[in-house]
């Protein structure tokens, strides 16, 4: 995946959230966005997901600029798998149907094919027993894993994860992170927002540190954690890793 972020501005009302955000050209498999709360990580992820349109600036994914009108953005979103913090799955549908519905409705996959594709994925990630359960009957970790599968079922060019483990206990979080690591191993490009620095360190190859609506530091994961490039990023890493 190649990602260019150039001079992005975005405000919610009077509050600027992205503040002339730019990055050196990013060329990697897994990118982790880290930084303190309110720094613009989730907003940047939503902009990359095509859910928010920046007020100014440009994003290019593999060289193509992201469209700026809703119809074209919807086409773009069809090829991007996005998973949020929690409550992703459609509450009125069982796990299997959650996977099948986007394939049939959005991508026109014939229902039988969609179902077999969905079952294959559930089987691969040992979730077959839960295929006919609705989200409220699943644990938080199972819900997130099904949500990730739903994002994969549409064969995305890119998977975006917004703090996928923040609402989970450590064991469930580990299950979800295992799954994310597996995606990365398979070569599916992933951008994730995370507070789990240990995970970012092991799974991501590039780290962007966001603070006050800008990318304040950017480097390879190894380098970032051994020699944080800026004072702010160093302080952040020290604070988070302290406990």
């Amino acid at each position: 995946m190649r990602l260019d972020l150039n001079h992005l501005d975005l405000s919610f009302g009077e509050t600027p959230v992205l503040n002339g955000l730019s990055a050196d050209p990013i060329d990697c498999g897994t990118l982790a966005l880290i930084g303190p709360s309110g720094g613009g990580k989730s907003t940047l992820l939503r902009v990359i997901a095509g859910l928010l349109i920046p007020d100014a600036g440009e994003i290019r994914l593999d060289g193509d600029p992201l469209p700026k009108n809703e119809d074209a953005l919807r086409e773009y979103r069809k090829r991007v798998g996005t998973v949020f913090q929690s409550y992703n799955l459609f509450l009125h549908l069982d796990a299997l149907t959650n996977l099948v519905l986007p394939m049939t409705v959005v991508h026109g996959v014939p229902p039988i094919e969609a179902e077999s594709r969905a079952m294959e994925l559930l089987e691969r990630f040992r979730l077959t027993d839960h295929a006919y359960k609705r989200p409220r009957e699943l644990s938080g970790g199972q819900q997130q894993r099904v949500a990730i599968l739903r994002a994969l079922a549409i064969r995305p060019r890119l998977v975006l994860l917004d703090e996928p483990t923040s609402a989970l206990d450590p064991e469930m979080a580990a299950q979800v992170l295992d799954m994310v690591a597996e995606l990365a191993d398979e070569g599916i490009p992933v951008i994730l927002v995370t507070h789990q620095l240990a995970f970012a360190k092991s799974a991501a190859d590039t780290i962007c540190f966001l603070h006050q609506g800008r990318i304040q530091a950017q480097s390879s994961a190894d380098e970032f954690f051994t020699h944080p490039p800026t004072e702010a990023s160093q302080r952040f890493v020290e604070t988070v890793l302290k406990y």
Binding site: L51, E75, R77, K78, R79, S86, L89, F90, H92, V105
Partner: protein, 264 residues
Amino acid sequence: MGSRSWEFPLSLTPTNTDSQPRLIPWLLLGVVLVAGLFYGALHSVAYVWDFEAVWQYRQKFFTGWWVTIRLAAASLVLSTLFGLLTALARRSSRAPLRAAALGYVELVRGTPLLVQILLLYYGVANAVGMDNRYVAGVVILSLFAGAYIGEIIRAGIESVPGSQIESARALGFSDVQVYRFVILPQAGRQVLPALTGQFVSLIKDSSLLCIIGVEEFTLSARQINSNTYSTLESYLPLAFGYLLLTLPLSLFTARLEERLRYAA
């Protein structure tokens, strides 16, 4: 001292509040008590029942009842359609649509149904050449119930969490698809109890159409009463006739609610 502690009678844990088999004995007991109360009251004023005169008009009861069923069924469908359109208009991005829907809802909710029936029938329906009082009745009743149903559906739509909508958008659903596959099915489950109440009201409200000469169930009973002077004997079947329509509706939706239950 008893060892049993007092228990707060309102449960905060989700219980299956409808269609519980153990409610049935209590319901039956209630029916017996109410019937006994009425019987006692009428007995004390020495009311003499005489169903003979009324029995001769049984065909008229059935005809009226059948008209009410058809009026209610047609209004149920039409008012749901009006309600759905109103709810969507209330959420439209276009200000004139939102204003029109709001005006309609407030106007209908703020005025008595009786006045609406008279004004719309003798004013508007006659002016546009809608001569059939049954058709006019259905339209008027649907306009009335549609305003309430619109607000019920709107509340249901707004109860769907924003994260559900964002998830659907992120997957590439179009606005129409988000409504069709995510919002409406979830809102539908939420609004079912309120909607049932509104439908039950609608069936009973159809009785007001008798003022424009629609020969439905209530008008039949009134005519039978004025022919026979047997007031209670004329109106008692009316009560049963309406219950016969409203109870199955309530039971049916309670079942449906059970089937659509997805939240713990």
